[in-house]
Each structure stands twice: as C-alpha cells, then as structure tokens.
Subunit: 354 residues, 2 copies
C-alpha cells in the first residue's frame, strides 16, 4: 500500500505519507489544551517539533458536550491521524484540560513547585482509542489571596529548560538560561508573573490585564470615543505607561478616566486612545508587580525577565518594562512545547535526549 | 373655571388644580438633566420643593432625536404642565444638558471654581415655548491628567449651602456645614471626590468605580461564578475593602482576581462574590483617594466627608471609609435641588430667601 502511494503519489497520498512518516519518527504527542484552543505537537526523540495541529476545540468550546464524549471527539479530531500510525505514542497535556471543567481534574500542586512535583501530580485519563493521556497539574500559591495557574507552569519550565536539549533545528534552540532563578512574564488575558527560585516556582502574581482592557474598551464609556489606529501607536502606548507608572498607587479606577478627559480636552486623538489605554493598563500591571517584588527587596530594574507570549504583545511589554528601568527583558519562544517535552522527559514518558 | 373645578372636583380636575396651585406658588423650575434621566423640581420662594417630576428623557435618551427638537419635546413633556400656569417662571438646569451632546454647550469653568464663576458661565437657550433655560456649566481641572464634572458642581454647592436657607420643611433642612472647606464624595458610575477650599471647588478626583464594577461582573470571568445574594452581604463587602486597602498599590488588576481564586479554593461562596468584589473596587477607590490626598498631607482619617448619592450606596461608602479610619462621613440629602436653588439665587433668577 505504501509502495503504491509512492508510485502514484496523489496530493492526499503524499500528505498521508508525510503524516505516517512524522508519526513513525515521533517520540511524544504533546498537547497545549486551554479554554479556547487545542494545540497538538508531534515531537521527535530530541524534542524537536515534527508537526503541529491546531484546533478551536478548547475546554469551553468542544465539538460535542463533554458528557457526550466531547473530549474524546476533540482529541481524535486533532490527533487521530497521528495515533493511527503510532498508537503507542505517549501523550502529555497541560492547561485547562486538567481543571474541574476539563477532561480529568489534576489537582493543583502547591508552591514552591518543582518539575518533580508536577510529574508526581500527573493524572492519567484513558482515551476511547486506548491511549493514556498524562495531564500536568496546575500550580496553587496558597495564602490570604491565593493564586492559581494551569498551563503557565509548563511554559515556565519550558523557558527554563528549553535550551538544554536544543538540536540542529534553530526553532528549538535558545539562549542558555539560568535554570535555577528567573522572573518570567506571561502577558495575556490573565497575565502571570512567575518568580523561580532554586529551580522551583516560588511564587507568582496574576493581573487581569487583558480581560479588563477588553472590558474597558468594549463595555465602558472609554470605548465610545475610541478609533482603532491604522497601526499600533507606540507613542500613545508609552504615554499611557508613564501615566500609570507615575500614578500607580492612585489606581486604574482613576487613571483610566484620563483616556476620556484627555480626549475631551483635545489632548488625545480618538485613534490614540486605544494604545494609550493599553499603556495605562499594562503600566498598572507593571507598577503593581514592582510593588509586589519590592516586598522582597527586588526591583524590576534588577531583573532580566523572560517573556512568553505573542511577539507583538511581548514587544509591548518589553517597551513598557524599559519605562520601569528594566532593560533586559527578552522574548522566549516555544516555551509550551519545550515545557511539555521537559516534563514528559522527567516523567519517563520519553528517554533522555542524546 | 377654577370655581367650577372646586364645585365638582373630579380626580383629574383636582390634580390640575394642585398643579396650577404649585405653579402659582413656584419661584423656580430647576432641572437635573443627566445622561439617562431628567428630574424636574418646582421650588417655592424659600427654595422648598413643591413638586417633582422625573422622566427617562436623559441627554442620551431623548424621546425624539436632538436635531428634530428632542430637547424641546423632553422639556415640554416634563415641565409643560407647570409652565402653562407659570410661563414666566425662571428655569435653571445642570448636568449633561450643558455638554457637547446636550441642548446647548456651557463651556467648563476651571478650578478653582466658585459659585460666582459658575453663574458667570451660565449659558441660556430659548425653548420653543419661549422660556429661557439657564444652563449651569461643568467644571474642568486642567493639568497633565485633566478632570471634568457636569452636574456634580451643582450638588457640591448644594451640600455646602443647603442648610443656610432651610425652612419649616424638614426635607430641605440639614446640619449647618462649613461652607468654606469640605471633602465631598459622590459615589456612582464615575465617582467624584471634590475638595472645597475657600468656598471654591479647588480640585477633584474621578474614579470609574461603578462602571468598572459593572463591566467586571457582566463581562469578565469574575461574573461567571457569582450568585446575587438574597440581601447585601456587609461582611463580604468589608472583606473586599480590607484586601484593597492592604494591597492598594498592587492594584485592582491583581486583587480583582482574588474573587475567583478565593472561590476556586473554597474560601468565598458564590453569593459572597458580588459584595466582596464591590468592596475590592470601592476599597481601591478609597485607597487611591488616600494617596491623592496625601500629596497635600491630608489623610482620610482627618476628614469628615459629605456623601451625596443613594442612601444604600452612601452607607456602603460610610462603612468602607471607616476601614480607612475615617469615622465622620455622613450622608447629605437633596444636594441637587439645593444646589440649583443656590446658583439660581446667586444668578439673580430668584430673590434672596426670607
């Protein structure tokens, strides 16, 4: 059959052969399964990505309801073509798939959280096709104001350990980082800032930056006078960051209103307002982080944060961090797949890299 | 005709007689005309309220579009029955009716703003029925982060001067206040805190407390796990205030998330979350105010703020202020109609009270 396909390689046949070949070479199937999307990576024995498949079948967006086999259906749709050719491939997943609303609940591991603790907290679920899915737990920082993460813990260890088993493929190679201590920022809907000490997640902070920005622009008076600029307005953004930095303790409730009053008084054009407000909100996040770090006598200016996220958002954060005297922030790519690989390796799902 | 009504007083006839009698006794028609409502007060020569009419015809909610005579239509609907009997009655209005989206624009008066400055800034607009409507200007505090108000300036002077011409009617009588210096809080969608010095509005602060709370509960993940309690939960509210007070400078972006994580960890029930978050948001407002006041070496604990707003909301603020050591906050009622009366008096629209 394979020979036949080689002799008469139709487009579909060639694709199928490629899939089969990738599956044959694969050492791990790694899933980043969040609220709104499912991202599947096929990794080889060195942890390099052979293939990627992305679906919108997030935990809150399954093709059929969970109680009707929605997780199995989504998993099969995303990964069935690979598992067909490699049914014994180990499978690991991180993210909301391990939450109370997920496929199986993987209870939080408490801070300080090491990779070993995450490995010990892995919960397995059997898929309809017979695969055993290893779900990485999230991390909880207990206390008067607890904090939680699911998925970011995996990215954090990916950022720390990604470079250690880089191969010929540039995409998975990075700068050699300190794996024992770091400050790692994960901008987004619920931005996280994670402090790594002694190779463990020591503590972390959550800021509802992305979600509150979206709510402010879509559901308050501030959005009404806004006009999306043709391209991002860095000047307006940094102006907003500066306002938040200088008025951090007066708070977002006060400074956000300046997007309106500066508009009313002709000092901020309609198409400057979205980036200005973005700067105000991100600036408050960083001002708040600075205060949190100061409780342990750390300043942002001393740190060289690693940023995990989209290039454009991380670049915004890098510029904003400079306003706080933090000049060494840098983007880390492929943290998710690197983290899944690293945890799978520590869990013995895959062999040590060469 | 009047005698006839007296002889055979049908219900409608009695009402009409009452309206005519009130209009005959009236010295001023005073309007609080905001974004979503129009409130009309008929005041006698002592500034006492003879009658009130309320309509939903706010500036953004006119019965017909503004360019098709919407303001005249709304005014006539609310006040026509009175003006019919007293066509020469002076009419004064405050609020968004004087904004760029209002009936006529009454340009902002800058801080420090006295009643005399407001009077000098009054702009008149002729109604279709021939009345001359005097529109009170708003107040602008210029600067790097400007602040604006429209309507609140009138309430502020109402709170300061309301008691000075109280009459037999308890509703318009209050405690005798210092009219030269005060801290006045106006909770709401865009809460204002106004500092009065030398009888003038010296400076003020705006916090988007009400609007951001509404956006958080309706349009972020925080609302999803909330359940409205049967009655307001003061304990949960004060717990939120305390969190904001203790973590003020980390900011709302960080503390708001605790409504979720405390829920996830079983430390905050679903029906405690709305009031807890309300406490967090109001707490951040007061923490921000404390920081703003501190720039002039003032603390909330030293102040005896006057609160203008609904009884229940002002009571929340009074309790929250106590958490900041501010034990002498108190509610001021009828500030709007008192303020309109005072400004009308200063403008010579009505004679001095007896």
């Amino acid at each position: 059959m394979k020979a036949h396909q080689k002799d008469q390689p139709g487009k579909q046949g060639a694709q199928e052969a490629e899939i089969a070949e990738a599956a044959r070479r694969a050492a791990l199937l790694a899933l980043d399964w969040g609220t709104t999307s499912l991202r599947a990576y096929l990794l080889d024995a060195s942890g390099d990505v052979l293939a990627t498949r992305v679906s919108t079948a997030g935990v809150m967006n399954l093709p059929v309801p969970a109680e009707e086999g929605g997780f199995d259906a989504a998993f099969d749709e995303a990964c069935g073509v690979w598992l067909e050719h490699a049914p014994t491939l180990p499978v690991i997943a991180a993210g909301m798939v391990g939450s109370a609303q997920g496929w199986v609940q993987a209870p939080y591991v408490e801070t300080p959280a090491s990779v070993d603790a995450l490995v010990a907290g892995i919960v397995r679920v059997k898929t309809a096709q017979g695969a055993s899915l290893c779900v990485v737990p999230g991390v909880l920082e207990p206390g008067a104001l607890p904090n939680v993460m699911r998925g970011e813990e995996t990215q954090v260890f990916g950022a720390l350990h990604g470079a250690l088993h880089g191969t010929q493929h540039g995409t998975l190679r990075g700068t050699r980082h300190d794996t024992q201590s770091a400050l790692i920022g994960l901008p987004g809907t619920h931005a996280k800032w994670v402090v790594v000490e002694g190779g463990r997640i020591a503590r972390f902070y959550t800021f509802m930056t992305g979600e509150i920005y979206a709510a402010l622009t879509a559901h308050t008076i501030l959005g009404r006078t806004m006009k999306r600029p043709a391209e991002p307005d860095t000047h307006a953004f940094l102006r907003g960051v500066t306002v938040a930095r200088e008025h951090g303790c007066e708070g977002l409730l006060a400074t956000a209103f300046s997007a309106r009053t500066l508009g009313l008084t002709g000092q901020l054009a309609a198409d400057e307002q979205p980036d200005y407000l973005s700067g105000v909100v991100i600036g408050h996040e960083l001002a708040g982080l600075e205060v949190a770090l100061a409780r342990r006598d750390v300043t942002l200016a001393q740190c060289a944060p690693q940023l995990i996220g989209s290039d454009s958002l991380c670049e915004r954060y890098r510029l904003a961090l400079e306003q706080f005297g933090c000049m060494r922030a840098h983007l880390v790519r492929h943290a998710t797949e690197r983290g899944l690989w690293h945890i799978a390796m520590q869990a013995g799902l895959v062999g040590s890299p060469r």
